[in-house]
């Protein structure tokens, strides 16, 4: 029996759409091809609402709302790209760049990075804040993967995919505020983790160059964020992925030919 969902009429950027009850603004918008930028949101994972890049304006509400974490309600009027929202998004991006050490030119994810893409879309040609230039050691102890916290934006996609999809819960967030940072195995080096299954879903999900395969050179890391939604759908529908010609990583299946 197909699931019956009540539809709810809302307006996004003057377009009337039929959203589903229980759906977020972001999900509804995407189903209708309306682009709202996102970063911490990943289809198939729980909603976190951390990055705030997806902010939208809702008529009658003074504060912008995170589209990924705001459910649709009847007759909602949403604006996704006002001057105020553009300014907020750019500021958020500049703060992210100022907070870590994001040097695109020498990053494994250069050209394949959601943070970089969002910055380009937002027209972020420079950063108005002082760079914090934090000292963050790279964890290359895992035989297959590397974690470079310099490039981590604490979106927690890796935390959620590891916990919710793989069920290993290797990752956690330690500390608070600008001190918040990712840890593996409660602060042990990743290579010493006994719960990591070497599945690579965290690497596939990471939006930046913070997680990548050992041996990756600059520009070589390609993520496969769609993998999560495909896995979730496959489990739900019991429809598994078709075979591939030769052994390939999720990255390769995602269109990378390296």
């Amino acid at each position: 029996m197909p699931e019956v969902r009540r539809s709810i009429a809302i307006t996004i950027d003057d377009t009337e759409i039929d959203a589903y009850e229980g759906e977020s603004i972001l999900q509804a918008a995407r189903r209708f091809g309306i682009k709202i930028p996102s970063m911490c949101y990943l289809e198939g994972l729980s909603v976190w609402g951390a990055c705030r890049i997806c902010v939208v304006e809702v008529a009658g509400q003074h504060q912008p709302r995170p589209a990924c974490a705001t459910l649709v309600v009847e007759d909602m009027e949403v604006r996704t790209n006002t001057a105020r929202l553009q300014s907020h998004r750019r500021t958020i991006l500049e703060l992210l760049f100022a907070e870590g050490n994001h040097v695109c030119a020498v990053c494994v994810s250069n050209g394949n990075c959601e943070l970089q893409d969002r910055a380009v879309e937002a027209g972020m040609d420079h950063v108005r804040f002082d760079y914090r230039n934090p000292l963050r050691p790279v964890d290359a102890t895992h035989p297959k993967y590397v974690f470079d916290p310099n490039r981590c934006i604490v979106c927690t996609r890796c935390v959620r995919v590891c916990d919710e999809i793989e069920g290993a819960h290797v990752w956690d967030v330690a500390s608070r505020g600008h001190q918040a940072h990712l840890v593996t195995e409660l602060g042990q080096p990743w290579g010493r983790s006994s719960s990591c299954t070497w599945c690579g879903k965290c690497v596939a999900s990471c939006p930046t160059g913070a997680l990548f395969y050992q041996g990756s050179a600059v520009g070589e890391s390609v993520h496969a964020p769609d993998l999560v939604a495909r896995l979730v759908a496959a489990r739900r529908d019991h429809e598994w992925f078709p075979p591939v010609e030769s052994p390939t990583s999720p990255n390769e299946q995602n269109g990378d030919d390296r």
């Binding site: 030119a105 020498v106 494994v108 250069n110 050691p137 790279v138 290359a140 102890t141 035989p143 590397v146 470079d148 290579g191 050992q214 041996g215 990756s216 050179a217 600059v218 520009g219 070589e220 390296r258």
Partner: protein, 479 residues
């Protein structure tokens, strides 16, 4: 007490530098020094990075010869992994370096030095640049631009991008060669070869005008260091280190580049960020490091080679040797050497085009971390380049040392500037043409001091003269 004459900055070299000419009490030139005042600290921010990122990270050291850093770094990476890249990977790296030498030498000759050579050292600076060259010698200027673009397109084909290419990686090359790019290179190589022949003929037709410069632009005995092979042919990518003296006698041969620390000292200078490497065995315990002076780059490579290994370049080498009577010891001959190298590159590229190895899809060896220290060496257009890495068990850099070609020529450049100043500076006045000669003397080495190219000759030059009490007596600014 000494008078100081400062020329700052030098135009048309890659970066910022200034020169101090020290006069003695009689107003004669006592000594001259070439200062590199720009500090980039690359070694510092390599620490803590995975070794696999090093090629692209260090390639940022230079926008003119990034391929050289990619190669030296990737070779250090190969050694850290304990692998030998597949033959096709080696062939493609070799091809990339040939393209790199062509494009860098073409820039040096056609854009940076040809204005001096063809328009004359005393020509008005406002026309003594690549635009003046285009007006006076449009065919040569156009050919030079096309030659450089040929070299760049090879780099692009193999490494993925013209500048800061990510395709050269530890273990080999990231992507195999495609038929289209191979055919594109093959279609253009004949013209590149012809241009290098034309440029050589042109150079030889005017070289005799510079008899005085040849005698005074760094004409002194020194050691020459570079990569060499067992066949005695011109080497630019693999092989061992070899050192000869100004008579051609072998000083050291078959040195494993990884052992460079046993042979090379690195002196730091209080007035320059460029370290001065020197040949240890020639410097006495408390003797001056200048005793250990050696030169690297095109001049050294040609002096080291018995033959170029290709027909036209071998003829050209014979012409050079006949002109200089064997060993070329004046740095002015760097120009000539560069042109011969361009010709050799085009000939080698031409012969590689029919090699099926080039199209092999196995171009990259994959491995983990199998050694904690390794040295990678390449012959950059400007000379031998060393990358020395130490990594922890996870392949993260714990220490790094880079010896760049321009640094190794530092002692030579100082000696050259001194020699030129002694020849042309008499008293507390510097003629415009003398400024040009000092700059041209340094440019003979084609130094790359940062990633900025001042190819337009438009950088201002300030000449400050200071009296015995340290007070400036006059200042000449050239815009």
């Amino acid at each position: 007490m000494h008078d100081l004459v400062t020329i700052d900055p030098v135009t048309r070299i890659e970066g910022h530098a200034k020169i101090t000419i020290r006069l003695d009490e009689d107003g004669k030139v006592d000594d001259a020094r070439f200062h590199v005042t720009e500090f980039r600290g690359f070694e510092e921010f390599c620490r803590g990075r995975p070794v696999f990122e090093m090629p692209s990270l260090t390639a940022r050291t230079c926008g003119i010869c990034p391929v050289s850093h990619l190669l030296a770094s990737a070779k250090a990476g190969d050694a850290i992994m304990g692998v030998q890249p597949p033959p096709a990977g080696v062939a493609l790296r070799t091809l990339a370096n040939l393209g790199q030498i062509i494009q860098s030498h073409a820039l040096s000759f056609f854009h940076l030095s040809a204005p001096d050579l063809l328009l004359g050292m005393a020509a008005d600076p406002s026309i003594r640049n690549v635009f003046g060259l285009m007006a006076a010698e449009p065919d040569i200027a156009r050919r030079g631009i096309r030659l450089r673009s040929f070299g760049q397109s090879i780099i692009e084909a193999i490494a993925g991008r013209k500048v800061h290419a990510p395709g050269i990686v530890p273990g080999g090359i990231a992507h195999p060669m495609t038929v289209e790019t191979r055919d594109d290179i093959a279609a253009r190589v004949a013209e590149a070869k012809e241009t290098s022949v034309v440029a050589l003929e042109l150079y030889l037709s005017i070289a005799d005008r510079f008899a005085r410069e040849i005698d005074a632009f760094g004409s002194f005995p020194s050691l020459f260091l570079g990569l060499a092979n067992d066949e005695g042919t011109w080497e630019h990518h693999d092989g061992h280190l070899k050192v000869i003296d100004a008579t051609g006698a072998i000083v050291a041969d078959r040195i494993d580049p990884a052992e460079y620390r046993d042979f090379l000292g690195e002196a730091t200078n209080s007035d320059s960020y460029l370290k001065s490497p020197y040949w240890k065995a020639r410097v006495a315990a408390d003797g001056p490091v200048a005793d250990g002076i050696y030169r690297v780059g095109p001049l050294a490579r040609l002096n080291l080679a018995e033959t170029m290994g290709t027909p036209l370049a071998d003829e050209a080498l014979t012409v050079l040797r006949d002109r200089v009577g064997g060993m070329a010891t004046s740095s002015f001959h760097y120009h000539h050497a560069r042109l011969i190298e361009i010709l050799a590159c085009t000939e080698r590229i031409e012969s590689m085009m029919s090699d099926p190895l080039l199209m092999d899809s196995r171009v990259r060896a994959v491995a983990g971390i199998n050694r904690s220290r390794a040295v990678g060496v390449s012959e950059a257009p400007r000379g031998t380049l060393f990358h020395d890495y130490e990594v922890d068990d996870d392949g993260v850099l714990t220490d790094v040392n880079m010896i760049i070609a321009t640094g190794q020529n530092n002692l030579g450049m100082n000696a050259t500037v001194t020699q030129i100043a002694r020849e042309w500076v008499t008293g507390p006045v510097i003629e415009e043409s003398t400024l040009n000669r000092i700059e041209a003397g340094i440019r003979a080495y084609d130094p790359c001091l940062s990633c900025s190219t001042h190819a337009l000759g438009a950088m201002p030059m300030v000449v400050t003269m200071i009296d015995a009490g340290g007070q400036p007596i006059c200042s000449v600014t050239r815009d």
